[in-house]
């Protein structure tokens, strides 16, 4: 008897998407409740400002500011949407970085450090090669590759420590993060790359446009006028598809995933597990490095080089991007856009209300917290699905489903 596939509601992918949606909604609700509590408990804020804040949390992307009478106005905001795509570019890349490492059983919390090293390498190449003698397009390409290489090296370090010395990669990544933060400050401190022309900008590096290096806009600026959007987002999407192909259609991807599910079994099957751990971290690092290249080579972004006291949030936000997408490279594209939308929401909140952008970080952290036990949410969804199950379904497809889930949790 030929069996029909599970219907849309019972498919693994659908459940993952649903679980992520639930996490997102709960996260936003928690943010709203926090705004409400602060609004009601603080006499200078009040209920109406809290209501404004909550509406912005959910619809900040389509806010067009305040009207003359002080009410919030809504509509298509090309600046916001263009900027969302621009900011999504590095988030998609760091999300891919974390997702690839996750697929191979490693937790890449080192994305901020890899991102910083990628930033430094890209900027040094983009600003160091004079564009009078070398074509700007070539400099861009070199800087892009340089960023990827620097990230790969920085990612490979914890990978090697894990593979050969059995040091917990989380701890090694955290240490390399702070080393990178100090190293980058050290490199730029006293260098010629510091922006000394605009003296209001202390501790900033020149924009790469200063050397005529900038990512081409590819016509996107015509669709979203007054925004920073450029071709980087297209490169990020292409890379996401490439990572998807690498992980699902190639031998290398298969070996990496095998090491992730069971390192010892993989070695028994003749896979070089140490090489694969290093390789996986190097790929993850390269992706984080590319995140930085795409962001800082846009031409009009400035890098604050005195980073030794803080790590870039873009790196850490790769973690929720990957978790929300259940480590699926294509899903990362959408969750990356969602995260950058939250960024825009934070900006609107700061500009238009008495609340501030940190509420979006709270929302993100709630989402991460929920995705720590997304398996439980998924199981709850499964139970709900089972209740409404039609009796024609045979028991034969149950083991297949659990096997699938087993692969997912690893």
């Amino acid at each position: 008897m030929k069996q029909r596939g599970p219907n849309l509601l019972e498919r693994e992918g659908t459940r993952s998407v649903l679980a992520s949606m639930i996490s997102i909604i709960i996260g936003m609700l928690v943010g709203s409740i926090l705004i409400l509590i602060m609004g009601l408990s603080n006499s200078s804020l009040g209920l109406s400002s809290a209501w404004d804040g909550i509406r912005l949390v959910f619809g900040g992307l389509f806010s067009t500011g305040r009207s003359a009478s002080g009410a919030l106005t809504w509509g298509f905001n090309s600046t916001s949407i263009g900027n969302m795509l621009f900011r999504a570019t590095p988030l998609i890349m760091t999300g891919l970085s974390v997702a690839v490492a996750f697929k191979t059983g490693l937790f890449n919390i080192g994305a901020p450090g890899q991102y910083l090293m990628g930033t430094a390498a890209s900027l040094i190449i983009a600003l160091g090669i004079p564009s009078e003698t070398v074509p700007a397009g070539l400099i861009w390409l070199l800087a892009f590759l340089g960023g990827a290489l620097a990230g790969a090296i920085w990612g490979a370090i914890p990978g090697m420590l894990k593979a050969f010395l059995n040091i917990n990669e989380v701890l090694a990544c955290i240490m390399t993060n702070w080393i990178a933060a100090n190293l980058v400050t050290w490199v730029f401190d006293g260098s010629n790359y510091r922006n000394l022309v605009e003296n209001t900008k202390s501790a900033y590096i020149y924009k790469t446009a200063y050397n005529n290096v900038a990512t081409p806009k590819l016509g996107l600026d015509a669709i979203f006028p007054n925004s920073q959007v450029n071709g980087g987002i297209i490169i990020a999407v292409v890379l996401a598809v490439l990572v998807y192909i690498l992980m699902t259609k190639t031998t290398l991807g298969y070996e990496l995933k095998a090491c992730g599910s069971n390192r010892h079994a993989a070695r028994y099957a003749g896979i070089n597990d140490k090489r694969n751990i290093v390789l996986s971290m190097a790929i993850a690092g390269a992706l984080s490095g590319i995140a930085a290249s795409l962001y800082y080579l846009s031409g009009n972004t400035e890098f604050f080089w005195a980073t030794y006291q803080s790590l870039p949030a873009t790196g850490f936000n790769g973690i929720p991007v990957a978790l929300l997408a259940v480590n699926h490279p294509i899903g990362v594209i959408f969750t990356g856009c969602f995260m950058s939308m939250l960024d825009i929401v934070g900006l609107q909140l700061t500009n238009l209300t008495a609340y501030n952008e940190y509420i979006t970080d709270v929302i993100i952290s709630v989402i991460v917290y929920l995705s720590a036990f997304s398996l439980v949410i998924k199981m709850m969804l499964t139970k709900r699905g089972k209740k409404g199950k039609t009796p024609t379904r045979t028991a034969g497809d149950a083991p297949a489903q659990t096997a699938e889930k087993g692969g997912e949790s690893a």
């Binding site: 701890l171 702070w178 050290w186």
Partner: protein, 343 residues
């Protein structure tokens, strides 16, 4: 030398107590990656408590009268509040990892993201800037123990020991040392400690002997949260002039490194935290360290970049871990959710 020892202690003691916090969680079988976040939260709560109490004027009379016993009590109270709130915050982690069997690494990371976000959100609304400070005065004038309290005059000599350990110190430092000793003894010499440790090594066997593994893991993580919250406030009090900025500069992670370097054993951890405290102290104050008291600031004069000194604690951590990781022995069952049905 006096300065060097004092500065080292200032960094080493919070490290030590937070590393012990990590030990309590991991010995019970829960990886507490959230130490950093709990420290940030504890620091904020403690500073907010100090700020609000000052605003209410509760200790103004004591301050005016120079009643330092009351002021030290105030400090202890703030530590207690930070510890309680740290414990409550850590319940988020234990709930996720014990009841929901969640991935503990991700749960801890979530708390690490949540604490600074929440704290900065609140600070920005309360203080209208990114730092929450004391309402009046500074940490030194309110809480620091000075030689004048013991009847010494401004120019009196106290001797090496006196000026190092009694003058210009915080009571919090000694409370932490005392707590460290007591809790280490509890972990190793009592029935409760043995039960807690058994849950991190072989929870199935512990359960078969009638120990409630879930309860033990809750207790371990809660003690861990309390210690980390307190450690966060002590860090803010002694190194940041009792101010909260939603940041402890990776101190919680350093404590984790100290814990691993110390092989999950209290005595080794005490030694390791002194070593790391020294490096952290060099990183923070290299330009004003006068090693042998001859007025020569050696470290500043070698001409090594300050960035190198700042990098040093993290670099040393990696190198030390590289050499010790082969020998290190983590609790066997840490990070694995306990499932009663599993054999």
């Amino acid at each position: 030398m006096t300065f060097l020892i004092q500065q080292t202690l200032i960094y080493a003691i919070p490290l030590m107590i937070v590393a012990l916090a990590g030990v309590y969680a991991e010995r019970s079988g829960i990886i507490n990656l959230a130490l950093e976040g709990i420290m940030i939260f504890g620091a904020f709560v403690g500073v907010l408590f100090v700020n609000l109490t000052q605003q209410a004027g509760t200790f103004d009379a004591a301050k005016a009268a120079g009643d330092w016993v009351a002021l030290q009590g105030f400090e202890l109270l703030a530590m207690l509040v930070a510890a309680i709130m740290g414990a409550i915050f850590s319940l988020l982690l234990s709930f996720a990892s014990v009841n929901l069997k969640a991935d503990q690494t991700i749960g801890g990371t979530a708390l690490n993201l949540m604490a600074p976000a929440l704290v900065l959100f609140l600070i920005r609304i309360i203080a209208n800037q990114n730092t929450l400070q004391m309402y009046t005065g500074d940490a030194a004038s309110w809480f620091m123990i000075k030689k004048s309290l013991f009847g010494y005059g401004r120019n009196d000599e106290m001797g090496f020991l006196g000026s190092t350990f009694i003058d210009k110190v915080y009571l919090a430092t000694y409370v932490c040392i005392l707590l460290f000793v007591i809790l280490s003894i509890i972990l190793y010499k009592t029935r409760f400690g043995l039960r807690l440790r058994s849950c991190g090594e072989n929870p199935q066997a512990a359960d078969s002997l009638g120990i409630n593994v879930y309860k033990m893991r809750y207790i371990g993580t809660t003690i861990s949260g309390a210690l980390a919250g307190m450690g966060g406030f002590v860090y803010a009090l002694t190194t940041a002039n009792c101010a909260s900025t939603g940041d402890v500069a990776g101190f919680g992670f350093l404590a984790l490194a100290v814990m691993i370097f110390g092989n999950w054993k209290p005595l080794n951890i005490a030694g390791a935290s002194l070593l790391f405290g020294l490096f952290k102290c060099v990183a923070a104050a290299y330009s004003s360290i006068d090693i042998n008291g001859d007025g020569v600031f050696l470290l500043a004069q070698i001409g090594i970049s300050p960035h190198f000194y700042r990098m040093l604690p993290y670099l040393i951590t990696l190198i030390v871990l590289a050499f010790t990781s082969k020998k290190s022995r983590a609790p066997k069952a840490e990070g694995i959710p306990y499932d009663k049905g599993q054999r």
